[in-house]
Assembly symmetry: C2
Amino acid sequence: MSNIKKVQDFLIEHAIDAALITNPDNIFYLTNFRSEPHERLLGVVIFKEEEPFIICPAMEVADVKAIGWSHGVVGYKDTDNAFEFLDNAIQERISELTLLAIEKEHITVDRFEILQERFPALQFAKLDGEIANYRLIKNETELDCLRKAAELADYAIEVGCNEIKEGKTELEIVQAVEQAVKQKGAEKMSFDTIVISGKKTASPHGIPGDRAIKNGDFILFDLGVVYKGYCSDITRTIALGEPTDEQLKIYETVKKAQQASIDVVRPGTLAKEVDLAARSVIEEAGYGELFPHRIGHGLGISVHEYPSLTAANELPLEEGMVFTIEPGIYDPTITGVRIEDDVLVTKDGVEVLTKFPKDLKII
Amino acid sequence: MSNIKKVQDFLIEHAIDAALITNPDNIFYLTNFRSEPHERLLGVVIFKEEEPFIICPAMEVADVKAIGWSHGVVGYKDTDNAFEFLDNAIQERISELTLLAIEKEHITVDRFEILQERFPALQFAKLDGEIANYRLIKNETELDCLRKAAELADYAIEVGCNEIKEGKTELEIVQAVEQAVKQKGAEKMSFDTIVISGKKTASPHGIPGDRAIKNGDFILFDLGVVYKGYCSDITRTIALGEPTDEQLKIYETVKKAQQASIDVVRPGTLAKEVDLAARSVIEEAGYGELFPHRIGHGLGISVHEYPSLTAANELPLEEGMVFTIEPGIYDPTITGVRIEDDVLVTKDGVEVLTKFPKDLKII
């Protein structure tokens, strides 16, 4: 309930009548209700003082109550006009709606136009940054989930390493890893598991397929799990057989770059400094052009959330932020290598949540 | 390429300068490039005559080329302003942009405002319905994928039935099913697999957990797979041990209702008639209040797409449409039952793509 209170305080401070929250991850953060509405309307409406309500498909009303939500629930059927139900439920609670906070980074233009048509004089305020800021600093309960999710990610890499064998396909390893980690308590994967091998590792977002692993390959694992609604995200690159000098040089550069970024993490460091720490190591080694993405992204209920750690972000780090550190070098003629950990900014430094070893593992 | 041509013809017909498509499923339909951009900008821009281009993160440029896309590709880095790159690439191709078609059901208000700021005089047209209409009618290549996806869904149910055993948990069965179907060729599940049991079946969107299956339970499977980018979606409800008369009556009512809906599918039938055929069977049996959702939804690249089969949709069915038929009765005091098939509207009737038997299976 304290998270809803934060939104209420924001509404009071800015004299906003109400907030309509439709991003499922934000709804989970605020209400503990988790659902994927597809094209249907799912929202929570919060007022300065009046009781909040969840609007959802009729068939989910019982689920909302079952998680212990003790406030209003408005269910609509597939033949109903959901926005009419929304409108009525708002009018039951407040006499006039003149300023509504919405998530402009989530709500579609189509729905926005429906709102504009229904409330012609209504003004809109942007709520995204506000909720992103609440979510930016994790509390102890959230950290427990994130630590457990990271532990399961470590376990998944361990399973993956044990599966590596000449002739096995990438997809076979994906299956073995996902099965093992779910048996160990992961709710689901936080995104489609990546296991790619050989030259395919040079694609940062490569897709696993039927390629059989060969001696001399680097095998890149990028995966994460969801535990009690919180995500992990880890990358390790493993060698099958003795690596060449060129492969080794790329690996050691990425490893050194990743450690350089970890070493600067503490309250007060700017987000961009985390990026630049790794980037300068990679540039000095002559691979600057082959590191085409930011160093990392925030992690929590969403697998990508704030902060975004680019070379341009001047945000100072604060205790309680959790994000990935994942430099990579992608040489299409040799190999790709990425090493990624999840880290927490602590009072005076950093806690690395993922702990699978980073010395090059040769199988 | 013919799908891009459809958009070009639409632009010419309506004197629209260009279309910006950002829905990943539509991008896949138009370009064959599949990617999950998270918060990054991914789009394809199509003109009346000039060459189309894909705008994507720099790290995905090689992936775009690898799938055989022979047109323009614009990559931007995480520190770049993606909309500036978009702007420049458009200006390289046409001298004036006055009317742009966008997907109002997909693009966010935030991005819309960025476009408005960058192109102050720009007018916008809505493109969603147009592309949804192309995707509404499946061609033979698409139908081959949908049939194969349905076959894999049948197989998943078969595996699930073999896993049913007193004491096994819902999540254990989920794992076994997913593993088996992926080994058999499914790229991934089309949504989070549902295996729920006992009274939990009374939640249409129930979430599998650690509940152990008991004798006397109904076990509800709702799952689907993705095969070459196309989705299936099947539901079967299975009994462990002899059902009670009340359970049996609910099951037989749903089965009869589902068949009634299938029986009316042919070109010219209105979407709502498919819904009402099942709904009237369920209402006559006295369960009307316990069927709180539409009869089904379109199926293709998205697991929910057009047509939406509600009791209010007057759309006439046409040959080549594919959708689900999934009535359910959810009695929280007895059990939930849902039976779902994927069907194709043929020239003179219906082809049921999912074929797992629907007589109550008692284990």
